[in-house]
């Protein structure tokens, strides 16, 4: 499921307080996301899950905080990857 479709399915569920179904969809998508290598998609799923755990009933702050730490690592890795690519480009451009 692409990012847009996922948000379109999850958002109304959260509004309707169907937190279980929203979580099920997001967790399912999260399990598939690393396989596709789509970091943007994974970032979005983490954002949505954190939002969900911060507003669901009951609140799940511990889960939200754990995922936020994961999001930090994901962002750092993405930046490192971008830096590596930039370094490669410079290397080839100057070769």
């Amino acid at each position: 499921m692409d990012s847009k479709s996922l948000v379109e399915r999850v958002s109304p569920l959260i509004v309707d307080r169907d937190y279980q179904e929203a979580e099920r969809l997001l967790v399912e998508s999260r399990q598939v996301a690393p396989d596709t290598g789509d970091k943007h998609q994974l970032h979005l799923i983490l954002n949505e899950l954190i939002e969900l755990y911060s507003s669901s009933e009951p609140l799940a702050w511990d889960k939200a905080a754990a995922l936020s730490l994961e999001r930090e690592h994901l962002t750092r890795n993405a930046l490192q990857q971008a830096a590596n690519i930039a370094a490669l480009v410079v290397r080839f451009a100057t070769a």
Partner: protein, 132 residues
């Protein structure tokens, strides 16, 4: 990215109420933000760290944070005063607004007696007009 560390600190602070862990994460966000020139994140993190210090009675730490913010203002770093209201986005933070306003008044009052810090004090007055 320092902003993601700031986001984590907000969850630790307002969600789990783990103040020490949140402060440690804020310090990471500040250090990384200074390294990467992310002034907005640095400013917001400093504001939260200062309030945390103030609320826990660590006045020297709060003043030290204020000096850092003052330094950013003096150096005309690019941030908007009031960015710390991001913290109110956390649902649990809504009910903290009154406390926060009072804390900011105290925060500004300390600095007012120390040196000219009109901007921060003005912001505090807007949040809590009945304050000192």
């Amino acid at each position: 990215m320092p902003y993601s560390k700031l986001q984590t600190s907000l969850l630790l602070l307002y969600g789990l109420r783990q103040h020490e862990k949140a402060a440690a994460k804020l310090r990471q966000a500040i250090a990384q933000g200074q390294q990467e020139g992310d002034d907005r994140t640095v400013y917001t993190s400093l504001s939260l760290l200062g309030l945390g210090s103030l609320n826990s009675g660590r006045i020297d730490d709060a003043l030290s944070v204020l000096e850092e913010i003052e330094g950013m203002i003096t150096n005309r770093r690019s941030f908007v005063v009031g960015d710390e209201t991001n913290s109110l986005e956390a649902p649990e933070a809504q009910k903290l607004e009154v406390d926060r306003g009072e804390a900011l008044v105290d925060f500004g009052a300390i600095q007012r007696s120390k040196s000219d810090y009109r901007d921060l004090h003005q912001e505090a007055r807007e949040l809590d007009p009945n304050g000192p």
